[in-house]
Symmetry: C2
Subunit: 503 residues, 2 copies
């Protein structure tokens, strides 16, 4: 679907005799010392060698970072700007047995909390988004949901107290792999424990405890936040009023795991990643850039790309290149470049892995509950050996954390049903605890990462679990062309439905 503009450009090539160009390139190459050893010889090659501006750019970025780290130190400077901070010194036991002996939650809020603290909405972020969903007095930079939040907005700050946190495992002020391990004073790096979406939610509820919020008016989230939003209800059903899950899922599926796998691999393959221990050196910016490019394909590809990029080349007057050449390639290159130093590589690995591990099925929940209980037992016996004082720095909850009671292993363990035969019983059992929560589930037909069948699955599962207050909205390709990222862009449909649901 070339546009008329693209065609005009192609015609322009024809007007300039293109075949004169290779000679120019050849000349450049013969003066390029780097290639001499390989390409130089007595005889001249049949065709000129290629140039690789994309690799030159990576090398030059490394050199710049090297120089900068000599002058200012290699400390990473990931930040979402000024945030509030909640410090909890009561250890957080993670689902896979790891422990954060203390941790911080960086967060931001909009709108006043009411007298009985009943108007709080917890807003969950996507993988790499920060708590900065909207500008604040302390940080006037527009947030990622700037237009969705405000007085009279879809998340109405006249009515609600919106809280958005930076997830544990991330790098925007909440404890994550780039934080200092209090046990030895060094950065966690890949000694950070494996964490789950549920662990992130547990940490968020510690913050709610600290803020004295017993029950949320609503739990709202998109993408990974859509997972968290459901998980909040499942872990703390008494503390969540209503649930909004946008472009999320109740469990990850193989394609999304596969795509995140390739991102992790490309990042870990960057020699600068150094198995996670790069904090004293140059970060793996090339691996991060490319991981983000792959991610961007999963976030944005959709019919919009056909219209926006089609088959247009960035500069049709040039020979095709192995480096970015088509507009879609330069777009991806730019997206990767913009991100590569904005987010911590280890955070990407851990948070991405947490998404893969997400599964609200009853079997997984039951296994987790058992694993946690056993681990807690072990930790208790250790604690008796060396008792210590530990508490969160605001207030402690009135009652101990009440998670979902141990679920019995599902009577019906047949979870191999295909989607066409309805939601698997294991998932229905896992979501039974949400049978009476008013829930809004939204999905976008052009989403390839969290495809629309996953949101249909949530809705059908909840209904089969007995919930008759489920609203399911699927935005067709006639409305939302942006794929997964529609939740960031479609104020009218995503925002409008959200507003109507919250009331």
């Amino acid at each position: 679907m070339n546009s008329a503009k693209g065609i005009a450009a192609v015609v322009r090539i024809v007007a300039k005799p293109r075949y004169l160009q290779p000679a120019r390139i050849r000349q450049q190459l013969h003066t390029n010392g780097r290639r001499k050893s390989a390409a130089a010889g007595k005889a001249e090659a049949s065709n000129p060698a290629m140039v690789f501006p994309c690799l030159d750019a990576i090398e030059s970025k490394s050199a710049t970072l090297e120089a900068r780290s000599l002058s200012s130190g290699p400390e990473p400077s990931y930040t979402s700007g000024v945030t509030l901070k909640y410090r909890c010194e009561e250890p957080l036991l993670l689902d896979w047995g790891g422990v954060l002996s203390e941790f911080d939650i960086a967060y931001e809020t909009w709108g006043e909390i009411n007298a009985d603290k009943s108007n709080a909405i917890l807003l969950h972020t996507g993988l790499s988004a920060s708590s900065h969903a909207h500008s604040t007095v302390n940080n006037t930079k527009p947030g990622w949901w700037e237009k969705f939040i405000g007085p009279g907005g879809c998340l109405d700050t006249n009515k609600y107290h919106i809280i958005c946190t930076n997830v544990v495992g991330g790098c925007y002020g909440s404890t994550g792999p780039s934080s200092i391990d209090p046990a030895d004073g060094k950065r966690y790096a890949t000694r950070f424990p494996i964490l789950t979406i549920e662990d992130m939610v547990r940490a968020q509820f510690r913050l709610l405890d600290g803020l004295g919020i017993k029950k949320l008016y609503a739990s709202v989230g998109s993408s990974m936040g859509g997972m968290q939003s459901l998980a909040a209800g499942v872990l703390f059903p008494e503390r969540v009023g209503r649930i909004v899950s946008i472009s999320g899922c109740a469990r990850s599926h193989p394609y999304s795991i596969a795509m995140r796998h390739t991102q992790r691999q490309v990042l870990m393959m960057d020699p600068k990643w150094n198995r996670g221990f790069y904090y004293d050196s140059i970060p793996p910016h090339a691996g991060m850039k490319l991981a983000r490019e792959i991610a961007t394909v999963t976030y944005r590809s959709g019919p919009e790309w056909e219209q926006r990029f089609g088959r247009r080349r960035a500069d049709p007057s040039k020979q095709p290149a192995l480096c970015p050449d088509f507009l879609i390639e330069t777009y991806l290159d730019h997206a990767g470049e913009k991100f590569c130093l904005e987010y911590d590589a280890n955070s990407l690995l851990y948070v991405s892995k947490a998404m893969d591990l997400f599964d609200l099925g009853a079997a997984n929940q039951a296994a987790t509950v058992e694993r946690r209980a056993a681990r807690r037992q072990l930790l208790k016996s250790k604690a008796r050996e060396s008792p210590g004082e530990a508490s969160c720095s605001l207030t402690l909850p009135d009652s101990p954390y009440k998670e979902q009671p141990d679920a019995n292993p599902p009577a019906d363990s047949d979870t191999s049903m295909t989607q066409s035969s309805g939601p698997p019983q294991d998932l229905v059992n896992g979501l039974k605890v949400l049978a009476s929560h008013p829930t809004l589930v939204m999905g976008v037909a052009s989403d390839i990462l969290f495809p629309a069948w996953q949101q249909r699955e949530i809705a059908e599962t909840l209904r089969k679990a007995g919930n008759d207050t489920v609203t399911h909205v699927e935005l067709g390709e006639d409305v939302s062309l942006f794929g997964h990222d529609s939740f960031l862009l479609d104020l009218e449909h995503i925002g409008g439905n959200l507003r109507r649901f919250l009331g």
Copy 2:
């Protein structure tokens, strides 16, 4: 969609107290010299560091290859086994101005050619497939379409003489980047010229000339071969009887370009790639492996993955890992590993780029024709300066290569139409030359790389161009669950329709 087996495994974890494992891992790590500098200290970290068997494997592979190249030399050994070979010493002018002054085409055949040479079918391969579509007397290894070819088969060797070539640009015996540039006696590497799908087809028709085959009974291909199959008809309409294009397209779209872009980038980012000049050293096996993993996602993901892998972990008794962990990850890892030394990295770059550049629209054809004419003019004037003898080593064609006559720039240059409003006029103009060729177009609904709308586009375009002998078959998810690779697997539907069409 966990299977009952997956669940059983999860339950098994619970039976063994998993929380005892981290201690074991910690012990391993403290004896691991590589980590000492980063993780060792007086105090003990809160949590154990992770192990990275996937990176260990890459390092160990590099070491093995290093040792091997010391003993046997670093020559690449890509081969599709014993093939026939056709050597052409008449220069091949490529679409973007490069020239192969001489080239080889490695090929294989099945079934006898008839007296008037009217029963030849040219079978085009996918990106990385070789000419070995079926076993031969000289190479008994099963081919990639073993079950599709044979006496009474879908490609019936009792009736037809099937020819399958290795594409120019590849690494299975036909001239490509790993070949020696006759101009200077060194490997082309990235001095190989940019090539197009049409260039590959031109080289194939030189072979047909050499074999004395004036007209093909049919041009048949899948995936990239589906592009070539159409291109053969467009370039040599008089020499192609009928056309079969399976899971191909008439022009590449942004998602497929984007996915190939990420593969090229990951490969070029491997330091061992060395801007293409790795033939005297260790090949970029890690980059190739990962590029293949990304490719595999685009080839295979589909509903079948939900059933085959679901959310099952490779070894549920282990802690989740950042290295491959879920079954889908180990599957991708294995697919990448199997491929990483089987195909030449530079060939992957060039052939993948050729796919991106594919566009049978009239504007692109017209621009190419003009560019070629200008380039030919330049080469002629050079040739007058230093005349030489050049010919193909079998027979020369009776008449000069007659490509499609110069197309006028399309009267209607509006190509920005969306798919819903029908095929763009530019493409209709580009395929007008196929208005009377019986054509079979097949696609698979679960294909994400060459989505079904692209084959619908071919069929609609041909019909709009006046072709009333188009057969279009779209295999729904109820029939073919394998995504793009269905063409390799679905003998019943892909093969059956092919057989019926060829008659």
